[in-house]
């Protein structure tokens, strides 16, 4: 059970939540920019359907979102961003392998978003430590080995990863807003979706 909220813990949580919301907002706008660059550089159709290529990519849409406790939100967020960290690292490695120095700009943009995802994961771990739960150890969250895909499927998969990450940034901001209001162990009445 989470410790009763002392005033300082509540203040610290609200502070972490508001900083997390700003991080999520920045991450989302950078991911949207990266998406445009990625679509253009990979010669893709922005509206391409990627359903078949995104196995193993965390889905942002959540059923019974409003019934989740704060801890559940944090745990789901953390699992997602750890998975995105692995997925983006793999995209970066493939990008370097396939293009070498030829598209350093895309590589830098990918690396920048990867850094933000890592920072956001660390931020979520901080919030979980605040509730004396502590984040789950990293190994359990390790992502499955990448399926063998052709280059076109990898391009689609990358598109799917970035689209879903942009959705997660929106969801994370809502989750953190919810957490800031109601504390860790209580669920909450639904609130209208807001952009971060």
């Amino acid at each position: 059970m989470a410790a009763a909220d002392s005033p300082s813990a509540a203040f610290q949580r609200r502070d972490l939540c508001s900083r997390g919301i700003r991080l999520a907002g920045k991450m989302r706008s950078d991911v949207i920019d990266l998406l445009d660059t990625y679509v253009e550089r990979q010669g893709l159709d922005a509206s391409a359907s990627v359903a078949a290529a995104v196995e193993g990519v965390p889905v942002a849409a959540a059923e019974r979102w409003d019934e989740q406790t704060g801890t559940q939100r944090l745990l789901e967020n953390l699992a997602a961003y750890r998975a995105f960290r692995a997925l983006l690292a793999q995209m970066l490695e493939e990008q370097r392998e396939q293009l070498g120095e030829a598209d350093a700009a895309l590589g830098r943009a990918l690396a920048a978003v990867l850094l933000q995802v890592s920072a956001f994961s660390y931020h979520l771990e901080e919030l979980l430590r605040l509730e004396s739960h502590g984040p789950p150890s990293e190994e359990r969250a390790a992502s499955p080995p990448p399926p063998h895909l052709g280059l076109f499927e990898r391009k689609l998969r990358g598109l799917g990863v970035l689209r879903e990450l942009a959705q997660w940034a929106v969801r994370s901001a809502r989750d953190l807003r919810q957490l800031a209001k109601s504390g860790p162990s209580s669920s909450s009445a639904p609130s209208p979706p807001e952009s971060p």
């Binding site: 293009l99 070498g100 120095e101 052709g150 280059l151 076109f152």
Partner: protein, 405 residues
């Protein structure tokens, strides 16, 4: 009429990576006299409707033994796209037989099944391949039974489709132009918004390296540089790779090259007791390969590093003592160093001095006939004395004022 036995196909082997079929058959020569002329007609058929693609006539001489004959054919489309079939017949010019002679019957067809016959064979072929600019390329989309291809695009363009079978259609790209860095996407849009695709990398074979030049700055490493010529348009794992092979020693070095730099550089170790180097710069990428060669005598290609730690000392009104260090092992040559002397508004003077080269050593020189109580600026550069190749860069400037007279 004389009609030979129907020939027997021994094997029909596909090489999917090169879209090549290898046909092997027995010429059944043991039943004929030595030296007879034999003609083999080979027919290639394709698609569900087994349409004839080509027919060739192959000639051989019989040797009174059963010889296995072999013949290759490269398809203009990936073998995965649809089933390919081969049949063969022969005509033997039996000179002793004076009556009419005719072709044998066709052999039974040998088949290489396409992916469109396999349950999980769907995909777009060729998969992630590299072709030369200007090539004509056939790309096919193999899909599941019951699915429909809505359209196939090559890059931004929709292409007319060629029906191959119930589960396979193709497009034909003529005179392919160079692709972007991430390749040209070939997308097969199927019903229910499903899609499959491949990436085609269209580039150039490597150009012959131009202005290949090799020198050493320290007798430890030989640095070769060249201009790559036309960019290949291929990157990452498909980039153009360079290797430096030295014929006399047999040593080979692969070069780490940044494809975005205009000039290319590769290092090769200086080998003990070897002055002459016979280099071959090998260049290759998935489309082709070429090379450049260069024979150099290393002592004639010395480009020393910039002299360091220049110091000027002296307690005299008309002379100074200079010392400097050069990073490198020059024991095998004589060095020529040039000292530039300037002061105030007077004209710069150059003073040449030569000395035996040494290993990672400090060198000295004495300058006389200077003016008393005058502020001078000195700097030094060096080169090989006997076979000049290139000056080092100038050292930093060092100031010194001579004593009063």
């Amino acid at each position: 009429a004389f009609v030979p036995h129907t020939p027997r196909i021994l094997s029909l082997t596909p090489d999917f990576s090169t879209s090549t079929l290898n046909l092997k058959w027995s010429d059944n020569g043991s039943v004929f006299a030595y030296g007879l002329d034999a003609f083999w007609q080979i027919q290639i058929l394709r698609k569900e409707a087994m349409e004839k693609v080509t027919q060739v006539t192959y000639y051989s001489k019989l040797t009174h033994e059963d010889i296995i004959l072999s013949w290759n054919w490269t398809s203009d489309m990936p073998l995965e796209c649809t089933s390919h079939y081969v049949k063969i017949r022969c005509y033997i010019n039996v000179t002793q037989f004076i009556g009419p002679k005719d072709w044998s019957d066709w052999s039974p067809v040998a088949e290489v099944p396409g992916k469109d016959t396999e349950p999980n064979g769907s995909g777009v072929f060729p998969q992630d391949t590299v072709v030369a600019v200007g090539s004509d390329v056939t790309i096919c989309c193999v899909h599941e039974e019951g699915q429909q291809i809505q359209r196939m695009t090559y890059g931004p363009e929709i292409y007319p489709m060629i029906h191959l079978s119930r589960r396979s259609s193709a497009i034909r790209v003529l005179n392919a132009s160079a692709s972007d860095t991430s390749g040209t996407n070939v997308v097969c849009i199927l019903s229910e918004d499903e899609m499959d695709g491949t990436v085609l990398f269209v580039g150039y074979a490597p150009d012959i390296p131009q202005d290949l030049s090799c020198e050493t700055s320290n007798f430890l490493i030989i640095k070769c540089t060249w201009k790559p010529g036309r960019p290949s348009g291929l990157y990452g794992t498909r980039r153009t790779k360079y290797s430096l092979f030295e014929r006399i020693s047999g040593k080979n070095v692969s070069c780490e090259v940044n494809e975005m730099n205009r000039e290319r550089v590769c290092g090769f170790p200086v080998l003990t007791d070897q002055k002459t180097y016979d280099f071959i710069l090998g260049v290759s990428n998935p489309i082709g390969q070429t090379q450049s060669s260069l024979l150099v005598n290393l002592t004639q290609r010395v480009h020393p590093k910039t002299p360091e730690k220049l110091t000027v000392s002296g307690n005299s009104s008309t002379s100074v003592h200079l010392r400097w260090f050069i990073n490198g092992s020059f024991a095998e040559i004589r060095l020529l160093c040039q000292i530039e002397i300037s002061s105030g508004h007077s004209e710069r003077k150059l003073h040449n001095v030569s000395m035996a080269g040494r290993k990672f050593s400090t060198y000295t020189a004495q300058l006389n006939t200077l003016h008393p109580y005058t502020k001078y600026q000195f700097r030094v550069r060096c080169s090989a004395a006997d076979h000049f190749w290139r000056w080092s860069d100038w050292s930093r400037i060092e100031e010194h004022t001579t004593l009063e007279a």
